[in-house]
């Protein structure tokens, strides 16, 4: 019964999207982190989605295969009074772009909703199938 596979497929997508939301939350939380003593500020993270074939048939789920760090240099602000300022008086903040992360969050939440709806539809159809002939 291939309908049952829908739960695996949509479930994998929901799990992947929630992982993406998790990373967005971590990025947004660290949007204003300054560089520590090692001079390295928090780097924005992004998830990498890959298609995962489920079983021998054509069912295609999703999986997060990697979480990559954004290597662009962090934001530098001139603030000599700041305790974390370097010799030139610059403070290095994390390279998180709040706008990008918000867009990412909305996209993840929409995809999450879509997949939940897919599961709900599959559930209704399966329920009706189980009641066949009654």
């Amino acid at each position: 019964m291939s309908m049952f596979r829908i739960f695996d497929v949509a479930g994998s997508a929901v799990s992947a999207q929630s992982q993406r939301l998790n990373v967005v939350a971590s990025n947004l939380a660290n949007a204003d982190t300054v560089a520590g003593p090692d001079g390295q500020a928090y780097k924005a993270r992004q998830v990498v989605f890959t298609t995962e074939l489920m079983g021998a048939s054509a069912a295609a789920g999703v999986r997060v295969t990697d979480i990559v760090e954004d290597d662009t240099p962090g934001r530098r602000v001139h603030d000599p009074k700041h305790p974390a300022a370097d010799e030139q008086g610059y403070v290095t903040y994390s390279n998180v772009s709040a706008v990008e992360e918000m867009v990412n969050m909305i996209s993840a939440s929409r995809s999450y909703q879509n997949n939940i709806e897919v599961m709900n539809t599959a559930r209704t159809l399966l329920q009706k199938t189980l009641q066949m002939g009654q």
Binding site: S2, M3, I6, V9, S12, Q17, A58, T121, L125, G133
Partner: protein
């Protein structure tokens, strides 16, 4: 002799199996809406059903295998920089349409079953 009774159900059964196959395929497309490089797939339901019923007459009853042989890549209406070809609007519409038609096939089957049951009942009462 008994297979005469179920012959009427066979067509809708094939349709139902193909509908559930397509539903799963569309679920996979929706799940991969954000996967870079993913190519959306679908099949032509009418020709798959035609093939399946023809194959059944020849004695090879596996509509799902027929559908998998007919998988096509869908062409995106708007190209995407990451190579993903899932058109969410189209997939959602196809998903809703397919769910409705799955439901319709179920109703047809239920109707046939009820007709058969009625035929049997009236005989025993008469």
């Amino acid at each position: 002799m008994i297979h005469r009774l179920t012959d009427a159900l066979n067509f809708q059964t094939q349709a139902l199996a193909l509908r559930s196959e397509r539903q799963r395929l569309l679920a996979g497309n929706i799940a991969n809406a954000d996967t870079p490089g993913f190519q959306a797939r679908d099949f032509d339901f009418a020709s798959a059903l035609r093939d399946a019923t023809a194959a059944q007459r020849a004695g090879v009853p596996s509509p799902v295998a027929r559908a998998e042989a007919q998988l096509r890549w869908s062409l995106p209406a708007q190209t995407n920089l990451d190579g993903n070809t899932v058109d969410m609007d189209r997939e959602r519409a196809a998903f809703a349409e397919n769910a409705l038609k799955y439901d319709a096939s179920l109703r047809f089957i239920n109707g046939s079953i009820r007709t058969l049951q009625d035929a049997m009942r009236s005989h025993s009462q008469g």
